[in-house]
């Protein structure tokens, strides 16, 4: 009985949504084939195609692994740029009032611009290809990271800053050892949004300005070869990769930081 209930609590959150997705997918596929007479890939066909691809069958002159690694590498580069820039700008704008007054409105405006709207800018600056995709990703992920860091720093309790100054903390140490950790709970929210938005816009950007490799590029190319099953398989890969990275990256980071420091409550405001 206890094993059963344990299985229930651990499996239901996984199998439930999965079953729901498969059911809807089958339903749509069936309806599309009945009503419009088109060959809409169902989950089983997609899974078979995915297996083929994973076994090394070539897709648009490259293996699926090549496409995955190309996308991941771009994601990593763009996200790294976004984190570096966003955290630096956020710390500065959160700390210096004059910088805040100048930068904050810009960030709020940037936030309203959808990632793909940067395509013309990216094309003008970099032309079609690698840099353009990374640029679009970086600028999309940058905004939420900068905003959450800035807001996080502004909300740091005056008591921590006073205590640190009383203990003889210089300016650089103030950023490194006080503002950064104190703003971390807020920053994590921004990093999480930046990571997700970046991943999504990267794949979309690859569809428009991509060249040769990448998951987004492959999906859009599948249109021309009418290989819709492969496109569906790639969408599945994208979802799984996003989920895995979000889990690995953030769950471990959160557990090592804010959950260790607090009993789950948001201590910056207590």
């Amino acid at each position: 009985m206890r094993i059963f209930s344990k299985l229930k609590t651990s499996l239901v959150p996984v199998l439930g949504p999965l079953g729901l997705i498969l059911a809807i997918w089958y339903g749509v596929s069936f309806a599309a084939e009945m009503n419009k007479g088109i060959d809409f890939p169902d989950p089983l066909e997609t899974a078979n195609r995915l297996l083929e691809l994973l076994r090394g069958s070539s897709l648009h002159d490259a293996s699926i692994y090549r496409h995955i690694s190309a996308s991941l590498l771009r994601w990593f580069k763009g996200f790294a740029i976004a984190v570096g820039g966003g955290v630096l700008l956020g710390l500065g704008a959160g700390w210096w009032r004059l910088m805040y007054m100048n930068v904050a409105p810009l960030l709020r405006i940037l936030q309203l611009i959808p990632g793909l709207a940067w395509i013309p800018v990216a094309l003008l600056l970099y032309g079609i290809g690698e840099e353009a995709t990374i640029f679009i990703l970086a600028i999309t992920a940058f905004t939420p990271i900068a905003i959450s860091t800035m807001d996080g720093v502004r909300q740091v309790d005056t008591g921590y800053i006073r205590a640190a100054r009383m203990l003889g903390t210089g300016r650089r140490a103030m950023f490194m050892h006080v503002l950064l950790p104190a703003a971390l709970p807020s920053m994590l929210t921004g990093l999480r949004i930046g990571l997700g938005n970046g991943w999504r816009v990267l794949l979309a950007a690859e569809m428009v300005v991509g060249t040769g490799t990448g998951l987004g590029f492959s999906i859009i190319e599948a249109r021309w070869t009418l290989d819709y099953t492969a496109a569906f398989a790639l969408i599945g890969v994208i979802a799984v990769l996003g989920l895995v990275f979000e889990r690995i990256f953030f769950t471990s980071l959160e557990q090592r930081t804010i959950r260790a420091w607090s009993s789950g409550k948001d201590w910056t405001h207590d």
């Binding site: 009032r97 309790d157 005056t158 008591g159 921590y160 800053i161 006073r162 205590a163 640190a164 100054r165 009383m166 203990l167 003889g168 903390t169 210089g170 140490a173 050892h177 006080v178 950790p181 104190a182 971390l184 930081t257 260790a260 420091w261 607090s262 009993s263 201590w267 207590d270």
Partner: protein, 261 residues
């Protein structure tokens, strides 16, 4: 040691106008003295302490510490706050070692010194605990330890034990007296409790509101060791309370100076 000359403090706020927190305060605290600043809430005693700490600057007059003008906070003036200013992302020992490391001491050595000071405040065995896992009394011991570790000339304490239960408060008062008699720091202690002031201090300065000013400045004769309950102490409590009772109470809370510290 600590000297205030004609110190005034006025907060200006665009929407509300300006409010005078302190005006024309003159005060001289001698080396090794244990001074309690006593007064109703909102009378500016915390502002006085913040001026001595260097967190805020006076709008008139000058604050001197050891003959030098106070312009910024520094480790020679250790501050113990009311609560919640330990860094929650650091363990007890890391909190205590924090100041030493900022002075350039290597991590290992700093933690060695911090360990000794934690022992002095009775917290051996809690080195690796995060603040949120400890009781309020233990957290205040760490807060005291992190200032002591920098070997300050003066300790400035802002109602440090007021958030604790009565039992822990009395124990920490006794331990503070023990530390003070051993090291002889100059101690400035803000409180609103008459009993606490009479028990701890050599000298009690009563601050009154509207306009904020020094109402009384009295010496307390202390036995050594101090006795918490004695006839003479009751007399002193009565005298001070009479003085406090003559002051208006329920002052509108002062607004915080935004972002500036």
């Amino acid at each position: 040691m600590i000297e205030l000359r004609n110190v005034g403090l006025t907060y200006t706020h665009n929407s509300i106008g300006s409010k005078q927190i302190l005006s024309n305060i003159n005060m001289h605290i001698r080396q090794g003295e244990f001074v309690c600043l006593l007064g109703p809430s909102g009378c500016g005693k915390t502002s006085l302490l913040n001026l001595m700490a260097g967190f805020i600057s006076p709008t008139q007059g000058v604050v001197y510490f050891s003959g030098r003008q106070v312009t910024a906070p520094g480790p020679e003036r250790g501050v113990v706050f009311q609560e919640h200013t330990l860094f929650p992302w650091l363990t007890a020992i890391q909190n205590v070692a924090f100041g030493l490391q900022r002075q350039g001491m290597r991590k290992r050595k700093a933690q060695g010194v911090a360990r000794q000071v934690l022992e002095i405040v009775g917290l051996s065995g809690c080195e690796d605990s995060f603040p949120h896992t400890l009781s309020g009394g233990m957290r205040q011991r760490i807060a005291i330890a992190r200032t002591l570790v920098l070997d300050p000339e003066a300790l400035l304490m802002d109602e440090p034990f007021s958030a604790l239960d009565a039992n822990s408060r009395e124990r920490l008062q006794d331990e503070l007296l023990r530390l003070w008699s051993r090291h002889g720091h100059t101690l400035v202690y803000v409180t609103h409790s008459v009993e606490e002031a009479v028990y701890l201090a050599d000298r009690v300065i009563i601050i009154g509101p509207e306009p904020p000013h020094i109402v009384a400045d009295m010496r307390i004769s202390q036995t050594n060791p101090r006795e918490r309950y004695s006839a003479s102490r009751l007399d002193q409590v009565r005298t001070l309370r009479a003085c406090l009772d003559s002051l208006p109470c329920c002052i509108a809370p002062q607004y915080r100076q935004n972002g500036d510290c």
